[in-house]
Symmetry: C2
Subunit: 334 residues, 2 copies
């Protein structure tokens, strides 16, 4: 398989290049005119570490590789721009397979208004996909880092928690996938597919991220590691403490049934599982309502107040019975 | 090994961030203010495909991963800016090893005035390094693509050919490495180390690339695949033919001895070996002298006129005896 021939075929399938891209894939480098300020993030998915081909179609792998990278742009409140892809191709992945993987990436790029502007193909012992994404805003101050949370801010969360971990639990328990009583309990086959989709094809919350930035978010992060660890990144970068109300956490409704079937605690799936790619943000308390409206308009999902920012450091959790676990309270739950 | 702890340690070692970087590694994404136009290129090095750890130190692997990416910026005539690194780390590479690899990258970044502005670490079955580099110029027109060569232009080449292939031949023939008579024949131990260095630690011709762009280069490419294949990329992208004079090719002086010792033709090592990372450019004939002066000042290396651009397509080679091999003449030599 010639790298250049394959790149050329791939190029034929790529979505239209964005307004900033002057020259796309095929020369020594792509040319663009960014204007304003940019954010850049790189993420890699590796076979056997982040995915298994027996669980996942190649299109889903391509989707997820781009989605996890775009999620970092969402967490900065950036407008998605260009993506550059390094693909390591094992011997058992043929040209058709590479194109399927690219299809998954191209579909999400189109939907997200991102451009696949360049790439590199290598032989590799195992499949990997490293994606570099560039996002845009008029000025660097328009981006939301992890570092600006202030005591008194509210802590808000998009969407819900635990669906990705529940989807993974389903994939790893094949008997559950064919247990009709269980499937009824979680809301039927469609709900089951949706859960698995939350694990295999996460949606980066790009619209919500820009809405939160516009509504004055002071700090923001996407939940890739799990609420506990990611909240601690905000606390450490901002030099504040976060108090999370366990009772306020929006846990996806199917999580309880899956936790029961797999012998785990719902809260463990919700806060420890990670990969939900929801956004956690600090925002001035008086702007939470405006932010929730904007997130609903932009993304069609809820924004829930799950706690507040305090002076101090680390993350504490208030349980429904009023007990406070501290610091790093989630470690005691998991 | 915690990804974030290691990233933080790495961050302590990184060269100063460049003038465009507002926020480096450690948040969801790095923030920069590019100004003007950018070029972006991604390149991956994979263990067992592009390098073997028994031939190469980890610092050299880091150096080469960044060098091959920066070479693409050189070929665009860009000022080097930011580099973003995705590292796949196998179980047998410990934290000290990762830092050695990063040291090699950081040293070249410092020397090249590039910033290591972000990164991602993953577990992986085999070591890989995917590097995305961003280069800059005031306007997109200032970059030199592969597509502007015009009939009548001269074809010029920086430095010399074959040293990287000769270095590889040395590495792959351990008996030669300890054959004193042979080492004398190629100019002594220092010359031997220099040849191996051309293979393991190539220097991106960043100064020469900018000098050639400023001197009016109409098309440019870096020699990663070998002169034959890379020349054909210019011919195809520009819609022209290239005639290369075999007698004019600047072949590194040690190549003849190594070709003899390994039973190969010097021209084969010089044109087929690849990885020299010299720049091949088309340039108006009347500006070759000015370009050569500028390249010598910027990079301390020669610029040699090796042929010309003609109407037509593909690449032909004129041998010293006057015979012309065509088209894609290098295939007949190799």
């Amino acid at each position: 398989m010639g790298e250049f021939e394959l790149l050329a075929r791939m190029r034929g399938q790529l979505p239209c290049l964005g307004p900033r891209v002057v020259l796309g894939s095929g020369d020594d480098a792509a040319i663009s005119v960014p204007g304003g300020a940019t954010v850049t993030s790189v993420d890699a998915l590796v076979e056997g570490v982040h995915f298994r081909r027996e669980h996942t179609s190649l299109a889903q792998i391509g989707h997820k590789a781009l989605a996890t990278a775009l999620s970092d742009l969402a967490a900065m409140g950036a407008e998605p721009g260009e993506a550059y892809v390094a693909l390591g191709i094992p011997d058992d992945l043929d040209e058709q397979g590479c194109l399927e993987l690219l299809d998954g990436m191209a579909a999400l790029a189109s939907e997200s208004r991102a451009s696949l502007a360049g790439g590199d193909l290598s032989r590799a012992p195992d499949l990997f996909i490293a994606v570099t994404v560039v996002g845009h805003a008029p000025t660097p101050e328009a981006f939301v880092t992890r570092a600006g949370a202030r005591p008194g801010d509210s802590l808000v969360l998009t969407g819900d928690l635990g669906a990705a971990a529940a989807g993974l639990a389903l994939l790893e328990n094949p008997p559950l996938e064919t247990d009709f009583a269980f499937i009824d309990a979680i809301g039927g086959k469609k709900a089951k597919s949706a859960l698995v989709g939350r694990q295999l094809e996460p949606s980066p919350r790009l619209g919500a991220g820009r809405a939160l930035a516009a509504a004055g978010a002071t700090a923001m992060i996407d939940l890739s590691d799990g609420l506990g660890g990611d909240a601690r990144h905000i606390a450490a970068a901002s030099g504040v403490a976060l108090r999370i109300e366990a009772a306020a956490l929006p846990i996806a409704e199917e999580v309880a049934a899956i936790a029961e079937a797999t012998g785990r605690e719902p809260l463990e799936l919700a806060v420890g599982g990670g990969e939900d790619y929801e956004l956690l943000a600090a925002i001035p308390a008086e702007r939470v309502g405006e932010a929730a409206d904007a997130v609903r308009r932009a993304e069609g999902c809820a924004l829930t107040r799950i706690g507040e920012v305090l002076a101090g450091s680390d993350v504490e959790v208030r349980l429904p019975d009023g007990r406070i676990l501290e610091p790093a309270g989630f470690d005691q739950l998991a």
